[in-house]
């Protein structure tokens, strides 16, 4: 059917894939790719993407962003939205539907980033060969039309022979730090001169560096980042996350200035790899401990309780410091949690936050609440215990040995970081290369005339007063030296 309609007016309305001829099959597909390609390398597209990414980022700056992890917990996210409702009213629903409370993980942001990356890559692929040609095999002889109509064009008549005049032009160009390439043809001598010919590769480096950075960021997702790794002083805690590391904190100090503002937070850490000590040192804010690709950063601190738990046979089942890392909603209590190995019990230990007081829990006391992990609303046992005095709760023997501090660390492994830093370095170098070493190209033509030589000099350049004055100085120099 389609064959009979080919060439007919109707064929235009047909599905192109329906047509039997190879030409008709390949052309539309090629056309689509070509259009897509042109769209990708179009500077307008690039501009639109950059500005749209800027716009989304701006929204992410303006609107409160949901804290990491909150969206995974429906009740926490509902609380967050309620808080936002007080701020943004009815818009909250709209913003939420558009994903604007998590702009940086929204589909908009990711899609724009992917498109921008593709466009940057396409632009670089599209441009690099031309840059290479211009740097390595530049056209030495410019067309007469260019010499006449270039944005910067100059003409000097000198009373000397062509070869001599060409030498003068070359010498002047060299004096201005240009490299020169010369050919002689039937029309006289053609001179091409350039400076900083590798400068434009800065754009390629800058563009590819962005891809390196984004690639590094994606690789980084393969690592881990634990922002609430709390270690009670005197305790050793496994790092987990696929490592064989464990970390012991032997000391923590928080120092203050006279006016009460914090001066220094210092933890003394001992690191074990497979049980073997591999590092020991103080860490502080701005001075983390690095071991292999895992890094420990000083981040927060708080109270801890040394707890000993014995089972009914008198065997010790737990003997460690418990960091009280949570605060109660009213801010009056600090709460920590421990699990008894080999049982399904979850134990909360609750103390009074520093500087606060409570009716039931006094300083030097802890409230111990024991739950089964299946039911964490009704405790199996609950008791306020004094420091140093054993108490039996839910069949176990708890001793609050002493109060301690814990140090709170961020533990992170970022397998993409190296790429990000390499990309960042390349970005800075690339940008400096483009702007500090802008490429300059000048074409000159020397022709014999009745009285000597005619020298034409031309350059294609954007408005650039620095280059224009060099250009003028060059022409004056030729005029002067060619006398």
């Amino acid at each position: 059917m389609s064959t009979s309609l080919r060439g007919d007016a109707l064929s235009a309305a047909q599905d192109p894939l329906d047509e039997p001829e190879g030409r008709a099959l390949s052309l539309p597909v090629g056309d689509v790719f070509e259009r897509l390609w042109h769209l990708l390398i179009s500077m307008r597209t690039g501009l639109a993407l950059m500005l749209f990414l800027g716009f989304l980022t701006f929204i992410g700056t303006l609107l409160t962003q949901v804290p990491a992890g909150t969206q995974a917990v429906p009740s926490a996210y509902a609380d967050f939205l309620d808080a936002m409702r007080a701020k943004y009213g009815g818009w909250t629903t709209v913003f939420d539907a558009l994903g604007l409370f998590a702009v940086f993980s929204s589909i908009w942001f990711k899609a724009t980033l992917v498109l921008l990356t593709t466009s940057i890559l396409a632009c670089s692929i599209n441009r690099a060969p031309r840059l290479w040609r211009q740097a390595v095999h530049p056209r030495i002889a410019a067309s007469p039309a260019f010499l006449d109509h270039a944005p910067l064009a100059g003409y000097v008549a000198v009373p000397i022979a062509v070869d001599h005049a060409a030498e003068v032009v070359r010498a002047e160009l060299k004096r201005h730090h240009f490299r020169t390439l010369v050919t002689t043809d039937e029309d006289g001598v053609a001179i091409f001169a350039d400076r900083f010919r590798w400068g434009p590769f800065g754009t390629v480096i800058a563009h590819l560096s962005l891809i390196l950075i984004l690639g590094g960021a994606v690789l980084g997702m393969g690592g881990f980042r634990n922002t609430d790794f709390a270690v009670a002083i005197g305790s050793t805690v496994p790092v987990g996350n696929g490592t064989a590391l464990s970390l012991k904190a032997t000391d923590f100090r928080d120092l203050y200035y006279e006016n009460g503002s914090p001066a220094d937070y210092v933890s003394h850490l001992v690191l074990y790899d497979n049980g073997v000590q591999v590092a020991e040192r103080d860490i502080r804010v701005n001075d983390p401990l690095r071991y292999g690709d895992v890094t420990f950063y000083q981040s927060f601190f708080g109270p801890a309780a040394d707890m000993v738990v014995k089972d009914s046979t008198g065997k010790t089942v737990f003997d460690q410091g418990v960091p009280l890392i949570w605060g109660s909603n009213d801010g009056k209590k600090s709460i920590g949690q421990l699990t008894i190995p080999g049982s399904d019990l979850v134990v909360y230990v609750i103390g009074v936050a520093s500087g606060k007081s409570d009716a039931t829990i006094k300083a030097g006391q802890l409230q111990v609440e024991v739950y089964s992990s299946a039911n964490q609303t009704t405790p199996i046992g609950l008791q306020v215990v004094d420091e140093g005095k054993p108490a039996t709760i839910a069949g176990l023997d708890f001793t609050f040995v002493r109060e301690r501090q814990f140090t709170g660390l961020i533990v992170a492994r970022d397998p993409g970081a190296l790429f990000v830093w390499a990309g960042a370095l390349a970005l800075v170098l690339g940008v400096i290369l483009v702007f500090l070493f802008p490429s300059r190209r000048i074409w000159a033509r020397v022709r014999g005339s009745g009285t000597g030589s005619d020298v034409y000099v031309a350059a294609a350049t954007r408005h650039d007063m620095g280059f224009e004055s060099t250009f003028r100085a060059l022409i004056d120099g030729v005029q002067e030296k060619g006398r």
């Binding site: 950059m50 000083q298 800075v428 954007r462 650039d464 007063m465």
Partner: protein
């Protein structure tokens, strides 16, 4: 530290710098007003003299005023430079750790960038924008206590604090020049207006200023990421200040590309520079609007 001689001297330098910038601005404004009057009067005189092109008094007085203005502005830069040095000695780190220090440093950057561009391109008119910006930043600084709060642990990184912020000041200074030139570009028709620099020149100055500012802003962000990695354990955390600087960077990046697109040169790219400077100020004042990790001493509630 407040009582040390260096601290006192730095305060005097600040006041001297403020006065000098104010005087320089006054000189420029008077020069412009007088030259306007001069133009009008010489126009009248010309009419009266039957087509002659005589003008009396005006030009030499205005030129003199403007020259003095420039000299006083350089003096202002010298005082503010003295402030930078004295304050650094007095507080023991680059004077970039609180809003007061950063504001004075910012105005130093704007004034310095203006004077450098003025020397190169001989465009005093640009001063009518750059000097008020400088003056406003300095006046803003007077509203913030200049006391020296000790650094909280996160800011205790002398090298990165100094380099990261010093580089930011150069970037912001350049962007304010780009802004000034773009503003002068936008307030005149395409063919230019008497008494204002030619549009092409302004367009080029804007571009040159961004060419200086963009690499520095790139460096600011990279150094910031480096510092964040050391202090907060991640090179990027979408902190509002980081985010705002990314917006700024994208806008100036777009500007650099926009100039290549036909139809975006000139007016549209000048508009982008307005947006860019808005973003710069937003980045700078951001701390006042949103919390985040970039809290400076002296602004915490």
């Amino acid at each position: 530290m407040e009582g040390t001689p260096f601290f006192k001297l730095s305060e005097y330098s600040f006041v001297a710098g403020l006065l000098a910038v104010g005087l320089a601005l006054l000189g420029y404004v008077l020069a412009i007003v007088l030259s306007r009057l001069g133009v009008r009067r010489s126009g009248l005189a010309a009419a009266g003299a039957g087509g002659g092109t005589v003008s009396f008094g005006g030009p030499s007085i205005t030129a003199g005023l403007a020259t003095y203005g420039t000299i006083v502005a350089w003096l202002g830069l010298a005082f503010l430079t003295a402030w930078l040095i004295l304050r650094t000695i007095a507080v023991g780190h680059g004077p970039f750790a609180n809003m007061y220090e950063f504001s004075v440093s910012f105005s130093w950057g704007v004034l310095g960038a203006y004077l450098v561009f003025e020397r190169r391109y001989h465009l005093r008119t640009l001063g009518l924008i750059a000097l008020p910006v400088t003056l406003l930043m300095l006046l803003y600084a007077t509203t913030i206590p200049s006391t020296n709060e000790p650094l909280v642990p996160a800011l205790q990184n002398n090298l990165l604090l100094t380099v990261h912020v010093a580089v930011a000041i150069i970037a912001y200074g350049s962007f304010s020049i780009a802004f000034g030139a773009a503003l002068l570009y936008l307030i005149q028709p395409a063919t230019g207006r008497r008494g204002l620099p030619r549009p092409e020149i302004l367009d080029e100055i804007s571009y040159r200023a961004v060419v200086v500012g963009f690499p520095f802003l790139t460096l600011v962000i990279v150094l910031g990421a480096l510092w964040a990695e050391v202090a907060w354990g991640t090179y990027w955390s979408w902190d509002p200040k980081e985010t705002a600087s990314l917006v700024t960077w994208l806008i100036y990046g777009a500007y650099l590309h926009a100039r290549v697109v036909r139809g975006w040169r000139g007016r549209n790219s000048a508009l982008l520079l307005m947006l860019g400077f808005g973003a710069t100020l937003f980045t700078y004042f951001g701390n006042l609007f949103f919390g985040g990790l970039h809290s400076y001493a002296g602004l915490n509630q």
